[in-house]
Symmetry: C2
Subunit: 378 residues, 2 copies
């Protein structure tokens, strides 16, 4: 396809798949799109293993890496040791978390120690940790870096430029897009409020053309439309409105390769578009998740107001890990609580496919949409 | 253009403009689209006058009429006299309203009597009132009826069928669309959460293809995409995804003909897409409005929880009428409070055009988007 995204990334079809699963990353790249591995939360050792596996399974096709390097978060300045972060969580939050688990008859012991483990997530966001992660990627010939939160720090942009790796940045509002372009990012991932994970308040339908218009006087940086896109028709629609490709995640969560728990996969395949919630309860910033008894509990009036990053992650993730583990072996309470990040587009995903089949389906639906639009002009 | 919407409505370009302004309705129809007059809140006498004016100014082009005939609301069963509705509003709401006005130095006297006047809005929603309004439309040769809230009652659908007038219905979720098609509506207005006025939680980007797929096994009822659409590129994008045309309102609010107050027009022309709020504070149901000090006040923790329809309208509208009147003559406090329903797409509307120029702009942008999508396939 003739798109600036295809030129920059040297791919055939401008569909990017964000995934925490190495298998999805490799399959999407092999099918002509580009897989982007979400590496936040990984240790350098794990990242090294994952990239080795991808290199052996991607047939030489290009793939990307996604980190989360925000400009502001608790513990950023190095003044807080990761070990002390756990102590910053008020008891009320630990109690609320334990109460929810108790109510659904899930053991809440050991959570304190696991909370500590998740402070590593905070370490990766700092310059030292992130530089180490970036270097591992460079060594493996990663072809794209994406930063999912705010303007990437200058040191990150400079380092990627030096290594000839384009940088993509996620934006949720026009003003942020302008800042990103001025800072020098190479690709904008314009993500609407309907998207899974971190999201703003403006919809993809509005944000894509709004950003497209706003950046033209500065630089015509290519746009990947994100948020709610789970079909090739939507990808074509977004590209008619100003995007040069699409950035998807939710549609790959239900693929047979994905690491998503089977319980959550089944929930997602049966979910309508209105069964997600945009909430600060998982990370401290607004992120969209599949509605479940867990998200309902955190949306209830007696739930404590979410903590800033990465503290809220340290509250929620250990509990959600327990929930996933229990739901995998059929625990009824855990199945009710099980959730994961997902966008409204999940309402359009109703059959389990492989990641490769998903890319193929996008291509076919893209052609359908193209022909549909042409038919109005005959 | 070759679209089912053009066939059914006998128009050239499948762009429908919802407006409370007769001038906008006439201009859009004359420019090749179709104007749809929002008649809720009008008395039969006013409606008669408005339609006479349109008939004299529309050059024989077709136009539509929009009513609000929900299946459930306070006073529906005829058990509540419109006069008694005002008495159902708790004093707390009257006090809160007066306090906001006082804080901005706007006289709050006379509000009680005006609150009474707005009970007429409730009268039009009942069968007697709505039938009278429909008949006036039939007598004027109205070519489309739209019902902006829920499945139209069977008596309404039957009456329109008898008079050979197609019925369009607004839907905000897949399940409602299926019900509407089963009830026999002729056109679905599929409206995303980013839209102005009443709206659901699902975005246009997701809802249009989701509804399009869901209704195929029942009946291929044509879809007008609504919610956030203020440009021809977005219209083309939505049509690539399954729509057969677009239903717009916000983009016409800033046109030179529109009845919108000058203060609000200026605010809208300068607003970004994130300067709207989805709130129950204006009508009792979720509707999207331009953010202002008025909407901020109702979103604050000390604001009372909005009342059901039409009671909340009776609380808000008299105050907003005072605010509009004062802001028109330059009252600084009133200018801060002034607001109106509007969608996120207003971030894409930055210049004041006539309604006719707006339709022309849509046509040009549609062609641009069509060519853009084609360029990817070369």
């Amino acid at each position: 396809m003739k798109s600036k995204i295809c030129e920059i990334l040297d791919i055939e079809f401008p569909l990017l798949a964000f995934s925490h699963c190495k298998d999805v990353v490799a399959q999407v790249s092999k099918a002509g799109g580009m897989g982007v591995l979400g590496a936040v939360g990984m240790t350098p050792e794990i990242l090294e293993q994952e990239l080795n596996w991808i290199d052996q399974n991607v047939d030489g096709k290009p793939y990307g890496l996604d980190l989360l390097v925000p400009n502001n978060f608790v513990g950023k300045e190095g003044s807080v040791d990761p070990k002390d972060l756990a102590e910053m969580i008020p008891q009320e939050y630990r109690d609320f978390r334990a109460d929810v688990l108790d109510k659904y008859e899930i053991e809440s012991d050991g959570l304190r120690e696991q909370t500590q483990d998740y402070s590593n997530w905070g370490a990766n966001m700092k310059e030292d940790g992130a530089t180490e992660m970036l270097q591992i990627g460079f060594d493996h010939g990663v072809k794209l870096y994406a930063n999912a939160l705010g303007v990437p720090p200058k040191w990150m942009l400079d380092l990627c430029k030096k290594n000839n790796v384009p940088v993509a940045a996620l934006v949720g509002k026009k003003e942020h897009a302008v800042k990103q372009v001025e800072a020098g990012v190479d690709i904008l991932v314009v993500s609407g409020t309907e998207g899974g994970g971190h999201c703003g308040s403006v919809s993809t339908m509005v944000l894509v053309p709004e950003v497209h218009r706003a950046i033209q006087p500065i630089k015509d940086v290519p746009i990947l439309a994100a948020g709610g896109i789970c079909t090739g028709e939507q990808m074509a629609g977004a590209m008619a409105m100003g995007a040069s490709g699409a950035w998807c995640a939710s549609v790959f969560l239900t693929t047979s390769e994905a690491e998503t728990s089977e319980v959550v996969k089944e929930k997602m395949l049966h979910a309508s578009s209105d069964q997600t919630v945009r909430s600060r309860s998982r990370t401290g910033k607004h992120s969209r998740q599949l509605k479940s008894d867990w998200t309902d509990a955190w949306e209830s009036p007696d739930a404590p107001d979410p903590l800033p990053m990465p503290l809220q992650t340290m509250v929620s993730e250990p509990a959600l890990a327990k929930i996933d583990k229990a739901s995998d072996v059929g625990h009824e309470g855990a199945k009710k609580l099980a959730t994961y990040w997902v966008g409204q587009g999940i309402g359009l995903v109703n059959e389990k496919l492989t990641a490769g089949q998903t890319v193929q389906k996008f291509k076919e639906e893209f052609i359908d949409a193209y022909e549909r639009l042409n038919s109005f002009m005959e």
